[in-house]
């Protein structure tokens, strides 16, 4: 935020290529019979894709640290929301 560096267009295209590759990977892996690992792979790939979008397309890397704190806070509260909901299943 202090200085907005302009990334070369090539960087954005490479990130897009990575995102499309990950999309094909997640789709392909879904057709392998891996049991619970299928879901884990899908979720892990989704997280990697989201992080790539946030770091490069949304400029979290070059942004002010406050922005990273706010973004992390959103996901922290989401983890609380889902985590506490699941304690209900755990103690039932």
């Amino acid at each position: 935020m202090i200085s907005h560096p302009v990334l070369p267009a090539k960087v954005y295209v490479l990130i897009w290529l990575a995102l499309i590759t990950l999309l094909l990977l997640t789709l392909g892996s879904a057709y392998l019979r891996l049991g619970w690992v299928n879901g884990a792979i899908n979720l892990a790939i989704a997280v990697v894709k989201a992080v790539l979008v946030m770091i490069f397309f949304m400029h979290l890397r070059s942004g002010h640290y406050l922005l990273r704190i706010v973004a992390a806070a959103g996901f922290f509260w989401l983890a609380l929301l889902i985590g506490l909901a699941f304690t209900d299943i755990g103690v039932r």
Binding site: V6, L7, W16, F57, L81
Partner: protein, 213 residues
Amino acid sequence: MTEAVITARQFDDAQQQRSASDLGIWVFLASEVLFFGALFAAYAFTRFRYPDAFAAASRLTDVALGSVNTGVLLTSSLTMALGVRAAKLGARRALIGWLAATAALGLVFLAIKGGEYYLDYTQHLVPGLNFQYAGPDSRQVELFFYLYFFTTGVHALHLIVGIGIVCTVAAMAWRGVFSPDYFTPVEVGGLYWHLVDIVWIFLYPLLYLVSRA
């Protein structure tokens, strides 16, 4: 715009004003994470309780259309990012072009999604309208489709809003509002667009890829 950026009274300078906008949109996006988060929590809870029904239900979704749409939305994030880059460089025509491409890809996504909804309708998969499922756990399969229509519907609504924002920003660019010193609406609109993309990045495997093997 060649003159200095107009700064509102409460800010020391244009830099602080832009920082405030950045922080504001990120706080909004964090609240959106929690808005969609409640739906993801509902999904996680239900899928954990009825794994077999969710596996069967997910196989009824159209994985080809869903995958193509994921590619369309990822590509729209690229064009949006290139638009913000063009704004930073002060390249007005390129900015307008990238914004138009982004809005067009958003419309393509909505068209494919609409076609998919129609196919879901013809296959009697719409709860509350014509849901029919002959296999076991039909109530739980129906629950999956409640979540499917609610999450994709709310996502589509966000995308419609996003297309409106992109078109508005494009009109501002057309009027020559932006310069390398001032392009906050482009940046803020872009951040919103990327968030809508991220929501879909998670919806795609959770709805379409539960059990394909």
